[in-house]
């Protein structure tokens, strides 16, 4: 909270603010630390989530192909990518527990304000999605020799369905923070209260985010599969299997990118309508403009005070925001004035460089991966993998590009909503736990960061190792045991 006394003249006031600002930055309040902790734990968690969703469905698809055709290459691919999927899944699960707890731990005031509404999709996610995911994945991992083929196949589909439900509920919860609907404010209790659950769950913002995020998850899973398969092919291993999975991955990447583009376009329009400041920040558009251009990149300062170099596509921002190249896009300065009128004095401008570059890096990394995928697919048409020196580095970068795109996309979405946590209703500064001191948040943040760092190294090494070891030799007669198991036979899967 910033206290400005009217008795001070403007010069002293400025000095004070400047001092306050530097002071806060130097000391890191519990608010700053809680924000950093949320950013670190959430971005980290979301490295694993899209891989789980995308790869889960791809593995389910490969296993379906095996059950239908009995072609052993599909079984080999299912087991191999299944193993990689599980190394990744473990990290997604354990880092997800933190997500469920930290609203209450670090953001208790936020939780009190939104709990009546925000808690519902979280509880539904647990009941409908987490149970489905965890239970059926357990069955799938250990059930190869316990279940009939088709029932075992159904278990991975059930788990994959669970990941989709999970995504839907949590995105609906997030969409409510971007665009609150179906609520009233209870002044006496000082909180938002739910009036219409269907509005919360099925509002346009939730649907737009969902159909943008799910293809992005497929994109991530597909790119992962492309990178791994291409590496195997370059090393001249598992040609039959790897060619199939490379093609599967490439097609997934390209089709997903099409969907991401279409839904991203819809998302921008919804965003412009509901959070115009976010769109203006994404383009660093300070003045209201018609036929607004979209700059591919800028060298210099973003507020146009010193532009060294900029490439613009005329009218593109207007088109993205309004669907018309001549449409009027409101600028940051006008919006700040409007918001001050509506919400009272304050700074309503998010971190513009972060929004501007986050938006571009999201698109850029996604487009780069798609370009690599198109080039590879084009060469495959003539048979054989590309020979150029670009190929291996490009393929090795494939699994990482979507992860970067996803991260920057979320960093953009969440930071450019600031200063709000729930747009127009409550600010981030008012959400932090008043009883948790900066030292506690600093301590937990340091331990989380350290632990996450160590686990990242371990996970990465295991993943690389599992890829290098490659697919295992499978004897399908091992699978014939039946429900319940057999107390004398060797297990096919053991921890």
């Amino acid at each position: 909270m910033r206290h400005v006394t009217v008795d001070f003249d403007s010069v002293i006031e400025n000095v004070r603010e400047e001092w306050d600002y530097t002071n806060r930055r130097a000391l890191m309040s519990n608010l700053d630390l809680a924000r950093w902790q949320f950013a670190i734990t959430t971005v980290y968690h979301f490295i694993f989530v899209p891989i789980t969703i995308g790869l889960g469905f791809l593995v389910a698809g490969l296993q379906t192909a095996w059950v239908r055709t009995n072609n052993p290459k599909y079984l080999k691919a299912t087991k191999f990518f299944g193993k990689l999927f599980l190394i990744n899944f473990a990290m997604g699960v354990v880092t997800g527990i933190v997500q469920e707890f930290q609203f209450g731990m670090n953001w208790s005031s936020y939780s009190r304000f939104v709990g009546d509404i925000f808690g519902a999709p979280l509880a539904m996610e647990g009941l409908l999605a987490f149970f489905l995911e965890s239970t059926f994945l357990g069955i799938w991992i250990f059930g190869w020799d316990r279940l009939p083929k088709k029932l075992h196949l159904a278990s991975i589909w059930a788990a994959a369905l669970g990941t989709i439900f999970s995504a839907y509920f949590i995105l609906a919860a997030n969409a409510w923070m971007q665009h609150p609907v179906g609520y009233v404010i209870n002044e006496e209790r000082g909180r938002a209260e739910l009036t219409d659950i269907f509005e919360v769950l099925f509002q346009k913002t939730a649907l737009a985010t969902f159909i943008h995020t799910i293809p992005a998850a497929f994109f991530t899973g597909g790119a992962f599969m492309v990178g791994v398969s291409a590496w195997l092919l370059v090393k001249n291993r598992e040609k039959l299997m790897a060619t199939t999975t490379l093609k599967t991955g490439l097609v997934t990447v390209i089709l997903s990118f099409l969907l991401i583009t279409i839904t991203g376009d819809w998302s921008s329009r919804v965003m412009t309508e509901q959070q115009p400041m976010k769109m203006a920040a994404a383009e660093a558009l300070y003045d209201t403009t018609n036929r607004a251009p979209f700059s591919l990149f800028t060298i210099g300062t973003l507020d146009q005070s010193r532009t060294v170099f900029q490439i613009d596509i005329p009218g593109l921002l207007s088109f993205m925001s309004t669907g018309d190249v001549n449409g009027v896009v409101e600028g940051i300065k006008d919006l700040q004035t409007q918001y001050e009128e509506r919400y009272g004095p304050g700074d309503y401008i998010p971190n513009v460089p972060l929004a501007y570059w986050g938006f571009r890096l999201m698109i850029g990394f996604g487009a780069l991966a798609t370009l690599f995928a198109l080039l590879t697919l084009w060469r495959l048409r003539r048979g054989g993998i590309p020979k150029g020196r670009w190929f291996l580095p490009a393929m090795l970068s494939m699994p990482f590009l979507p992860i970067l795109a996803n991260s920057f996309g979320w960093i953009f979405t969440e930071t450019a909503r600031q200063p709000w946590t729930v747009f127009g209703l409550t600010k981030t500064t008012d959400g932090v736990s008043p009883t948790v001191g900066a030292a506690s948040v600093l301590f937990t943040m340091a331990v989380f960061t350290l632990l996450y760092g160590i686990l990242a190294v371990i996970e990465f090494k295991l993943m690389i190792r599992a890829i290098k070891v490659g697919p295992e030799v499978i004897d399908t007669s091992d699978f014939e045991v039946g429900i319940g198991g057999d107390a004398t036979k060797k297990l096919t899967i053991a921890y």
């Binding site: 190394i87 527990i97 009546d116 190792r465 599992a466 429900i483 198991g485 297990l491």
Partner: protein, 345 residues
């Protein structure tokens, strides 16, 4: 029944599910190095948890999510108040989950020894801290009204009072016994025999601390006479579990230890009702099912969801236990000394 009371019951049911299921997970984890002496035995023990531990842990996530939805004030005060214990539990659960998945990927003995230690420690810490947390909730913690909101006014060390630590001792010893009974039920050979003996020994100690703990709970921290009856059920079921274990009737032993655990949670929640977090400072600063709850509309929505989904979850989770019902013995572990990632072509 009032919707707030109904949701208080649902939260209790979720904690029953969590303590009965992850309770034995924690017990098995803590006992890993004690009951299993070689690689084949260790892997057999871990494989009994393999298909189920993650599903068991979801009960906690749902208990957290349901508390957020139905009693946001409880969620906010509890989670921000019990900050460090919950943080330690989170760290332990992260390490434990990863340890299960990664431990046997390599044959390297140091790699495995490190993860084994991690599993033992990361099973002990939450087992202890859940007991400390629940004992303190029932006992009452310093809560006060600040800016119109009921906040926790104590620190970490307020929670480590004798009664809180006794609660921790109860959960650790009860989970150890429950886990040993589960292992006796799910394994064969030497592990089964060791687990049975351990269950008897630790079970007696657990019986003593539990009786003391529940005795204090029902006499000092509430006035309801029903809690005496409930505590008596806990004691009876627990003794029945130990008796069955002694006779080698592991299935019944597990059922009775689950019943005892379930009724222990019911006793605590009954003692608590209608509070959700009583204040040790001032009655008016206590959180109750009414001042902590969501609106009746939200509770109604969540009731439909819970009533529709909970039976379904119980059916398919129950089915998992049916699918993996056979005992696992150390001799069934293929190549116990090596891991799938040992050899590169």
């Amino acid at each position: 029944m009032e919707l707030t009371t109904f949701w208080f019951v649902i939260i209790a049911v979720l904690w029953i599910g969590y303590f009965v299921l992850e309770g034995f997970d924690f017990g098995v984890g803590m006992l890993l190095k004690t009951v299993a002496k070689n690689q084949a035995e260790r892997r057999a023990v871990l494989t009994t948890l393999g298909p189920v531990w993650d599903g068991n842990e979801v009960w906690l996530l749902v208990a957290g999510g349901a508390t957020f939805a139905a009693f946001p004030e409880w969620y906010a005060t509890l989670f921000s108040g019990f900050y460090l214990p919950l943080f330690l539990i989170l760290i332990a659960l992260i390490i434990r989950g990863v340890a299960f998945e990664y431990r046997s990927k390599y044959g390297d003995v140091n790699w495995r020894a490190r993860w084994d230690n991690a599993i033992v420690a990361a099973s002990f810490i939450p087992a202890l801290l859940w007991g400390v947390a629940f004992a303190n909730i029932v006992r009452g913690v310093p809560l006060e009204v600040r800016n119109g909101v009921i906040e926790y006014a104590g620190g970490f060390f307020n929670l480590l009072n004798p009664f809180g630590l006794l609660g921790g001792l109860v959960t650790v010893s009860v989970f150890l016994t429950h886990g040993a009974i589960f292992l006796a039920l799910k394994t064969d050979g030497a592990i089964r025999e060791r687990a049975r003996v351990l269950a008897s020994k630790i079970g007696l100690f657990a019986a003593i601390v539990t009786v003391i703990f529940l005795g204090i709970t029902v006499t000092a921290f509430n006035e309801k006479t029903t809690t005496f009856g409930l505590a008596a059920i806990v004691a009876t079921a627990w003794l029945a579990a130990l008796g069955m274990n002694h006779k080698g009737r592991e299935g019944y032993a597990f059922i009775f230890s689950s019943v005892a655990l379930g009724f222990a949670v019911i006793t605590l929640f009954t003692a608590l009702y209608p509070h959700v977090m009583p204040s040790s400072l001032l009655e008016s600063a206590s959180l109750t099912i009414s001042n902590a709850s969501s609106t009746s509309y939200t509770l109604k929505v969540m009731t439909y969801v819970a009533v529709a989904l909970t039976p379904l979850v119980l059916i398919y989770q129950g089915w998992t236990y049916w699918v993996f019902r056979k005992r696992i013995s150390a001799t069934q572990i293929p190549t116990p000394e090596s891991g799938v990632l040992d050899s590169v072509q």
